[in-house]
């Protein structure tokens, strides 16, 4: 079966700087890929390129066999932006309902998704009156409600308590089991451990691309936090030398 996401020689400029340098990788269907890397390393930029809202300088991104961002793909790709992007002057219900309708879905899916992210009780509340974590979950609900085949989630669990985080990760796993391809960026190594595969990027380059176990082994440690530090610092020192 062809890959869900194929990236070849992707180079992206932001401002006057080149922030992604000839990135190439492939992501299989039904897999949860964790996108890790220091702040400013290019995670959000890479995700924007995959959903087709990032101007790219060179290279190509193909999703489900079609060029990223093409009209026919937009039915099948869900994107969660890093900072919540919902309408502040609509209720949770109205927000999710609106995004559902864009995919031709109705009340039932909206209601289900709202309760999936644990906002059942806040359904009638205006988005501007939500707490930070609730607001992120409302935004997540808008990304999930279209039942996409590919889910690109930029730090979906930031600001959530451990119980909710665990809940959401179980849900992500369930999606993957159903064949959905997920790419999830995170700074939390305990979450990285739950991915099938990790992409570690630093300064716009992929420095590790393997299963969590293999990444740990390569770094010679049992602790992913430690592995992350080792891999990132190794490169730093390599460059300094």
């Amino acid at each position: 079966m062809e890959a869900a996401i194929t990236i070849t020689g992707l180079t992206v400029d932001r401002g006057k700087k080149e922030v992604l340098h000839e990135i190439s990788t492939e992501v299989d269907r039904g897999v949860i890929t964790g996108l890790l890397g220091p702040s400013g390393s290019g995670k959000t930029t890479l995700m924007r390129a995959i959903v087709g809202v990032q101007l790219v300088k060179a290279g190509s991104v193909t999703v489900l066999g079609r060029p990223a961002g093409s009209a026919s793909l937009r039915q099948s790709v869900g994107y969660l932006t890093q900072s919540p992007s919902i309408y502040q002057d609509l209720t949770v219900w109205e927000n999710v309902r609106h995004f559902a309708s864009l995919y031709g879905l109705g009340d039932e899916e909206a209601e289900q998704t709202i309760s999936d992210v644990g906002l059942g009780e806040q359904s009638g509340q205006l988005a501007r009156d939500l707490s930070g974590g609730q607001s992120s979950r409302a935004s997540l609900a808008c990304a999930l409600v279209g039942r996409p085949e590919v889910l690109i989630l930029d730090e979906p669990t930031v600001g959530q308590d451990p119980v909710l985080r665990d809940d959401l990760w179980r849900r992500f796993r369930k999606f993957a089991d159903e064949g959905v391809t997920l790419m999830v960026s995170s700074h939390v190594m305990d979450e990285a451990n739950r991915c099938d595969r990790l992409l570690l990027i630093r300064d716009g380059r992929i420095i590790a691309d393997d299963t969590p176990a293999a990444v740990k082994e390569a770094a010679g440690t049992n602790d992913l936090d430690q592995a992350f530090l080792t891999l990132v610092r190794e490169r730093d020192e390599g460059e300094a030398a």
Partner: protein, 245 residues
């Protein structure tokens, strides 16, 4: 463009408006209050009241809709919702026409209320029927919407967006014939006023004021206003970029 997505977008924008009570009050009551003010200002100059009130029925919807649209669209651009919409099946035209329809509808309600009060409470009188006045008021509101959508592309903050109002509206209001009849202006001023769309909507209103039936000039003026709306929407569409740096 798709029917369901357009309907859903229009509904969403109207719902946003509904949750914003002060803005609803602004849209519905502001023109009425200002018309009442004008009524008392010209209490003893009936002819002047008729002329000024009629012109104002065209100018208020333009100003208010310009302001509301430019800020609503700016929020859409800055809050990340636009970026997100561009990853969904929403098309640029769905969005632009959604705004046009939603605020056009709001403007129709506003036009009916303001015109109704002007005619039935304040005793405004025109040779033509008030239906034409409402139609021109709505066209003006949609003109405000389309220019607001366009201008929002050039503002980074709401503070900047508000500053486009005097820039876009003041010259048009000064030169549309409200203060000085256009034929009495210096040639170059008249030349400028000739290329400003509000000039034509005000002229159309004056035609309704003076003639019992719609005149050719009125239709031509209305056509010009609609033409400007189409051009502004097309330019607005060009400023909506799916891919950004």
């Amino acid at each position: 463009m798709s029917g369901t997505i357009l309907a859903s977008t229009t509904g969403r924008i109207l719902r946003q408006l509904r949750h914003d009570r002060p803005t609803v009050a602004l849209v519905l009551l502001m023109p009425v209050l200002l018309l009442t003010l004008i009524y008392y200002m010209f209490e003893h100059q009936e002819q002047t009241f008729h002329r000024v009130a009629l012109i104002m029925l065209g100018i208020f919807p333009f100003i208010i809709m310009f302001l509301i649209t430019s800020i609503a669209m700016l929020r859409e651009r800055r809050s990340g919702t636009l970026e997100r919409l561009f990853t969904t099946p929403v098309g640029k035209l769905d969005l632009l026409f959604g705004y046009g329809l939603a605020f056009g509808l709001a403007a129709t309600v506003q036009g009916v209320v303001a015109t109704g009060v002007a005619f039935w409470v304040l005793g405004l009188d025109t040779a033509g029927t008030m239906v034409w006045v409402i139609l021109i008021a709505v066209a003006n509101a949609v003109l405000g919407v389309s220019l607001g959508l366009l201008c929002s592309a050039f503002a980074r903050t709401e503070f900047q967006a508000v500053q486009f109002l005097p820039l876009v509206a003041t010259p048009q209001i000064l030169l549309c014939g409200l203060f000085v009849p256009r034929e009495q202006m210096a040639g170059w001023l008249e030349g400028i006023s000739n290329v400003l769309p509000l000039t034509y909507s005000v002229e159309a209103l004056m035609e309704v004021g003076a003639n019992p039936d719609p005149t050719g000039t009125m239709w031509r003026d209305l056509g010009i206003v609609v033409g400007v709306v189409v051009v502004a929407l097309a330019l607005g569409a060009a400023t909506l970029r799916r891919r950004t740096p």
